[in-house]
Symmetry: C2
Subunit: 243 residues, 2 copies
């Protein structure tokens, strides 16, 4: 196994960080590596906002469901979809700026490919990371705090820092559930793989000293009602066309 694949397979999200900063040089290296990821037709529809102000980080930690790591990791970033540049260019050239869902999707994919390179670059430099999806718990408040202009919208947060824990790795679905040949399998086959995974998942939770719950039970409890409120309304307000 080569070093890059080994690095990916060592990944686990880090939720406790040492009280040490992330070096400026490392941040620049990681962002350059992030930028090297593919981007649809070079549109590069994303940006990264580093938050250093301590009061702001504490407020963001609250908004993300009281996750103290948001305030305490070596560095904290917000990954945004960024269609601002294209809008400013269109306005300057007297052209319309029009997309439908495709424009939003391009920004989300660009931002995610960028972020995953960024994350692996940080991990390759010895840092740990944690994506903060809970930043979407209250997007209008996050937006007010940052004063973002039209066309720039947070997708997720990112904690980076020197790890102060070595958590167990959470197991993944069986390979056969994810790598499919030619077509999507029948329902019984999918549920059979879910059952096999449930056992693995329960064993992992037990080993971690947590309440052993099947993965499928966790999932059934996660999608029984909409979460995170009207995030579509927020994105539309920032100019995203979700139609």
């Amino acid at each position: 196994m080569n070093e890059t694949i080994a690095l990916m397979k060592r990944h686990r999200s880090i939720r406790k960080y040492a009280d040490q900063p992330v070096s400026e040089e490392h941040i620049r290296q990681a962002v350059r590596a992030g930028q090297a990821a593919s981007t649809s037709a070079a549109i590069q529809a994303c940006c990264l906002i580093r938050i250093t102000d301590e009061a702001r980080r504490r407020r963001l930690a609250e908004l993300a469901g009281n996750q103290t790591k948001v305030a305490r990791s070596g560095a904290f970033f917000i990954v945004c979809g960024d269609t601002r540049r294209h809008r400013l260019i269109a306005a300057r050239e007297g052209k319309p700026y029009k997309t439908r869902l495709e424009g939003f999707l391009l920004a989300v994919i660009d931002a995610s490919l960028f972020a995953q390179n960024l994350v692996l670059a940080f991990e390759s430099l010895g840092y740990g990371i944690c994506y903060i999806g809970a930043l979407r718990n209250n997007l209008p408040e996050v937006d007010r705090l940052l004063g973002l202009p039209e066309g720039v919208f947070p997708l997720f947060g990112l904690c980076v820092g020197v790890p102060a824990e070595e958590p167990l790795q959470r197991p993944r679905l069986p390979l056969e559930a994810v790598l499919l040949e030619e077509q999507y399998p029948a329902d019984e086959e999918v549920l059979g793989l879910v059952d096999a995974y449930d056992a693995t998942y329960r064993a992992y939770l037990e080993q971690r000293g947590a309440e052993p719950e099947a993965w499928s039970a966790a999932m059934a409890g996660m999608f029984d009602r909409p979460r995170r409120g009207d995030i579509g309304g927020y994105y539309r307000e920032k100019g995203a066309d979700l139609s």
Copy 2:
């Protein structure tokens, strides 16, 4: 610079491939590396469909705007958002399956983080790759060809193979346009960075022997009307709630 960062910085999309397959063992290694990426609350809302049937690959190549590489790369995959497992689990447990835009967004982010790990794993093994966003040109036709069930929807294609070209690297926006401190910069500052990048981008196209066009001109021509039609309508039909 460590090997992982060096690998990322060597990335360029490969559009011509040698007539050589991608080894089964490498595919399995790369998918495992893909699965190791972060996934929000372990939902793992994505899957990868490998298309080997030649007639199907030729049809997909046509549907993606006549991109022959889709039929001719060593391997061709379709990266899908996959909410099928969660739906089947909910049905089995007699619970509702309900999300709003958050559910779709989770799937797109999960699939993209997975795909970027997958891509880097393939690149680390000596292959070249090209994301095929144009698979979204005609999603209903792609869907009919694959016979996908409710809750599974293609996001992009992926060509993988032994490179048969060494293209120039397309330059990226200046670091300062992407790595922001505390807040989003003023419009004039953004446009100043765009102007600097326009010159770099034009020089790159010239060097490649292409018509030298400023990046901003390319972007203004890309967003002056919606592209790829009613992709939102397709995703909604597959069960995605975009509200």
